[in-house]
């Protein structure tokens, strides 16, 4: 599976980007120990001038490269945590709706509709501005709108799986309906739901960046969105301050998409061969 996964150039590029990003995130406290928000040199040093500060400094003299590394941590943590939360919530709600049917299905799916009709970013914005900015609140705010996709797909899968003989078999054995739903049906409904994860991770990273840009990110952490916002005030004199984290965001989202596409593709090939 792994061999086939890495065969397409897109999947290879995506994986390489993600590995690089993960390494950056993990190595950040080793390469750039201490607070990345502290002042490291004179203000507004352009990139590639001073090799102790390879990407220069920002308006307050903070090391841009250190900020970039530490920002990778925030982006990855938020992306993965938000995706995990929304996949878990979505899969559970979708399974309950599909398996229970009837009134419970109707109620849960109308709830899903309600969340889906509100723009995800507005929902996150409202949630963070009410509860207050911190990393876990940002993760919850993003998951609040992202769980609807997994819920719909899980429900559709469960609707077909629950008619299969092995579910009837589990009922004949006397298994409790909740156990049938979560132990027999849900694991078999997961693969198409997990295929959504790359899209959700990428969206979560972008939403987090946008929230930070608007000043609603966790103020004690460096985020790429916050860096873009910070650079905005000196956009004419030092555009690199916004461009560098902007590029990092684009590359990250691209990497997540490509790797996700590769995973889905190789899963499809695997299915087709078996």
């Amino acid at each position: 599976m792994r061999g086939r996964f890495l065969q397409t150039p897109e999947a290879m590029a995506g994986t390489a980007i993600l590995v690089l990003l993960a390494t950056m995130a993990l190595a950040a406290p080793l390469i750039f120990p201490g607070d990345p928000l502290r002042i490291a040199g004179p203000a507004l040093v352009p990139p590639f001038q001073d090799w102790t500060l390879p990407l220069g400094t920002d308006r307050l003299g903070r090391d841009v490269l250190a900020e970039l590394f530490h920002g990778a941590r925030t982006s990855l943590v938020v992306g993965l945590a938000a995706a995990a939360a929304s996949l878990a919530v979505g899969a559970v709600i979708g399974t309950l709706a599909g398996f229970a049917g009837g009134l419970a299905d109707e109620a849960l799916m109308r709830l899903t509709d309600a969340f889906q009709t509100v723009p995800g970013f507005l929902l996150a914005l409202a949630f963070v501005s009410i509860v207050g900015p911190s990393l876990s609140v940002v993760v919850m705010a993003i998951a609040l709108s992202a769980w609807t996709g997994p819920a719909r797909i899980a429900r559709a899968e469960v609707l077909s799986i629950r008619e299969r003989d092995f579910v009837a078999g589990a009922r004949v054995v006397g298994m409790h309906p909740l156990e049938i739903a979560f132990r027999e049906v849900l694991p078999n409904a997961l693969p198409p739901v997990l295929a959504l994860s790359s899209i959700i991770v990428a969206q979560a990273i972008l939403i987090e960046a946008a929230l930070s840009f608007l000043g609603l990110g966790d103020p004690n952490r460096v985020t790429w969105g916050g860096m873009v916002a910070e650079g905005r005030t000196v956009l004419r004199t030092a555009p690199f301050l916004s461009i560098v984290p902007g590029i990092a965001l684009v590359v990250t989202v691209l990497g997540v998409y490509l790797a996700g596409e590769g995973a889905v593709e190789s899963a499809a090939v695997k299915k087709g061969l078996s």
Partner: protein, 264 residues
């Protein structure tokens, strides 16, 4: 009148198809005694599987009554129904579809032991090994995934699961139809042996009258959701009275000892 193990009276089920409804089962009445095999035969679409699913409460009937072990079987709901399910088990036609694709043999057999509190956790591996031996399988099979073992072995696992709760009735829904002829004979031998030793009754659903004649004590022939005739298996098959019975007998291969038609 002696109490039967299972008494079915006037069972009926209609399915909606578009604007109209189709009777999948109508006025079905029969009984099964302990350690007896009643065959339910009939052409495709005659309602055999519907009757099986009605009995196992996988679908709910529109009318009729079912008395099983002296209790009103259709009145059971929720937890009491789940408890009573131990006594009526089922073996499905397609042994691959009947198991969770992710399950191992051990997990399949562990479920009934756990759910019906037949054995404490520590004792279950031993009970699983015992069940595997009872159906003629190697105990090494326990750790294998169900989809890794052969069709015949898989159907033996299904039988092991069905007998794990010590049922008094097992519904065999075309349980040997998907197996090749040599495996089929051995599974039927196993089932007959279980009936002798444990006194299990079978509702043997099949479209193959050759099999029914050798395996069942009595037969009920279904046609279009209604019972066409029932009686002693040999007597009915040797001299069918109903039109559908005659047609089914005529369709059975005449070669002596040959009973193998492929499953539809």
């Amino acid at each position: 009148m002696a109490e039967h193990l299972l008494t079915v009276d006037g069972l009926a089920k209609r399915f909606r198809r578009g604007d109209s409804t189709v009777a999948a089962a109508e006025a079905i009445s029969f009984h099964i005694d302990a350690a007896e095999t009643l065959a339910l035969a009939g052409p495709s679409g005659s309602g055999k599987s519907t009757v099986a699913r009605l009995l196992l409460r996988l679908i709910e009937p529109d009318a009729g009554s079912v008395t099983f072990e002296g209790e009103n079987w259709l009145a059971l709901e929720g937890a009491p129904l789940r408890t009573h399910r131990a006594k009526m088990q089922m073996v499905f036609q397609d042994p691959l579809a009947a198991f969770n694709p992710r399950a191992t043999v051990a997990r399949v057999l562990d479920d009934p032991l756990r759910i019906h509190r037949i054995a404490p956790r520590a004792e279950r591996p031993r009970r699983i090994a015992g069940l595997l031996e009872r159906v003629g399988l190697s105990t090494d099979l326990a750790g294998r995934a169900v989809h890794e073992v052969s069709g015949g072995q898989r159907q033996r696992v299904a039988i092991a699961r069905a007998i794990a709760t010590k049922p008094s009735l097992i519904v065999l829904d075309e349980a040997v139809s998907a197996l090749d002829v040599s495996v089929r004979g051995k599974i039927l031998e196993l089932l007959a042996d279980l009936q002798r030793t444990d006194g299990i009754a079978y509702l043997f659903i099949s479209h193959d009258l050759g099999l029914v004649r050798v395996f069942a004590h009595r037969v009920a022939i279904l046609d279009g959701g209604r019972l066409a005739e029932q009686g002693d298996a040999r007597a009915v098959i040797d001299a069918p009275q109903s039109a559908v019975g005659k047609a089914l007998v005529a369709a059975t291969p005449k070669l002596h000892g040959f009973t193998g038609q492929d499953a539809s």
